[in-house]
Amino acid sequence: MNLDLLPLALADGFSYAGLLFLVALGLTLIFGVMGILNVAHGALYAFGGYAAASLVQFIMSRGDPPSILLVAALFVAALIVGVALGCLLEVGLLRRVQDKDPILQLLITFGAFLILDDLQQLIWGGSPYTASEVSGRLGTIELFGVTYTVYQLLLIPIVALCAYGLLQYFLRHTRIGRQVIAVTHNAEVATALGIHAKRIRLITFIVGAILGALGGALSVPTTSLVPGVGTDMIVLSFSVVATAGLGQITGALIAALMIGMARSLAVYTFPEFEVVVPYLIMVLVLLIRPYGLFTVAQARKI
């Protein structure tokens, strides 16, 4: 690899890790609280992306909007998709299978994913969608002699770090957040103490869904969406979450950075192995630490 490309590869990886982290954060939060691995998370990512692209195109068609409006449109789209689909999935499906086998819960979300995947193709078709206007508007920045878009180098990582900080603050210092932690530890006792566990689950799921949709929405200015993008994302974000350990929020941040960097280095050195690298890291980590880097060992219950 040409050494001049190294800063570019690192900046690329940094920005990609930001997106990956947002999606993985939603996935790991939902798992941590509800014990469900939400396969439909990939569909939320895709829906968030497509909705954001549509919204940006709609605003652009209405004349010349300020850049801040376009960036806001990404967040609004993610919020709408996250709340709408999150409510639908949690109330319509997950609530009904709360006490069943984890594997049946996994299958239910898999079924929902299949439905949403087709629905997305019915709504937006098979042609690629993008909203490159947004990143074009924000201009470029020069770093170590490499020109980079502000959007990728600053906006995405800042949003990702803000999401991390806000979530940590929410969980530790707000009333509802502390209730979420209580439900995570023991839903039954939490209910006995007067916590409305049902509502807490719904809130958690919606927050997770918004994070997934936000990941998709923030990706459209730099990449184009094609059918199948949801599947790639769910498996990729699972590999981040598994590397970190299911339910580990800080771990997901580190794992996302690791996998994002490794992937972009692979893109610049061995492009054929780009797809394989994240899974290679996951397999290596899991061989040494079977339940992820940051999982605390649990006693076996007989």
Partner: protein
């Protein structure tokens, strides 16, 4: 007894239908391929594990058939099948060493991740695998005879039917054996299984190889029927279809996988005629309904008894606290 008679009658109906209406041969063989693959997934479901990546083994076997048939033209179809099943089992043994350390969500998702890596690698190395276009192969002789198209299909139909019957019976025998019961014990309580002195990983590993072999056979038959292998054979949607059929049929009896395949094809037929382009949607909706309404599947609803010992006795002995 009921199940055995049902299987034989079903097989006879398939054979007669295939001989009377030649156009029925291809859908019946495809259905049997799906049934065999779902049977493989069912083996693991008895252990409480669901793999979302077993189409990979069908794909491995399919490419083995294609590579061998192109390298050695004139090699017998049955030999191709045997070699490709061996390839699938070997791949299953190697990958199994890693995945049997995991359960439930990890098990399912790791299989999915590995199958997706395999799928994209197949697409990338164009010189070897033909990329997304796949590889074509000539019609090989079967059991020494070089058939024309209709004869070839009949020969494949007979092969697929007899393999399904034999393997269905063998899987039932396996389920009733000590090893099979131990496999089901992984679902009930793995820790107790280990206290009995058995290695849960090794038992699951054996089951994993069996399931990889069954999926491999399914892939080999499918590729021989089509005369073409593409990476699509290992796509995640196909793995999802296998899981779907296995859930639909239920894990109580080997017959379930094939009954599930029949229903699956009926849904597919209705879907392509009435609601084109909504295949995954239809699949997902049915999956959700089955899980909510009848999570034990067809064989759980029908009066088909498992060959293993009656369940009631085990239930009576089970202590109240059952959370691990």
């Amino acid at each position: 007894m009921f199940a055995a008679i049902l299987s034989l009658v079903g097989a006879a109906i398939c054979l007669v239908l295939g001989l009377i209406f030649p156009w029925m041969k291809v859908p019946i063989i495809v259905g049997l391929c799906y049934g065999l693959a779902a049977l493989g997934v069912t083996v693991l479901m008895r252990a409480g594990q669901v793999s979302f990546g077993h189409a990979m083994y069908a794909c491995i076997a399919g490419y083995t058939v294609a590579f061998l048939a192109r390298a050695y033209p004139g090699l017998d179809g049955l030999l191709l099948i045997a070699a490709s099943v061996v390839a699938a089992v070997v791949a299953g043994a190697l990958i199994g060493l890693f995945v049997v350390r995991y359960r439930e969500i990890f098990f399912g998702m790791l299989n999915l991740a590995l199958s997706m890596v395999f799928y994209s690698v197949l697409g990338k190395f164009y010189e070897i695998t033909g990329g997304t276009d796949g590889l074509r192969l000539e019609r090989p002789p079967i059991a020494g005879f070089q058939f024309d198209r209709p004869g070839y299909e009949t020969a494949l139909l007979v092969t697929a039917l007899s393999a399904s019957l034999a393997l269905g019976w063998l899987v039932q025998r396996y389920s009733g054996s000590a090893a099979g019961e131990a496999l089901a014990g992984i679902k009930t309580n793995e820790t107790r299984l280990e206290y009995l002195g058995m290695s849960a990983r090794r038992i699951l590993w054996n089951g994993y190889m069996i399931s990889a072999g069954l999926c491999g056979l399914s892939g080999a038959l499918f590729v021989l029927l089509q005369g073409l292998v593409t990476p699509e054979l290992g796509y995640w949607v196909r793995s999802g279809e296998f899981v779907f059929i296995a859930i639909l049929g239920g894990a109580q009896h080997a017959l379930g996988a094939f009954m599930g395949a029949v229903v699956f094809q009926a849904i597919q037929l209705v879907g392509t005629v009435l609601l084109p382009g909504t295949w995954k949607m239809l699949l997902g909706a049915t999956l959700i309904i089955v899980i909510l309404v009848a999570p034990t599947g067809i064989t759980g609803v029908l009066p088909i008894k498992s060959w293993s010992k009656p369940r009631e006795r085990k239930l009576a002995l089970r202590p109240v606290a059952e959370k691990s």
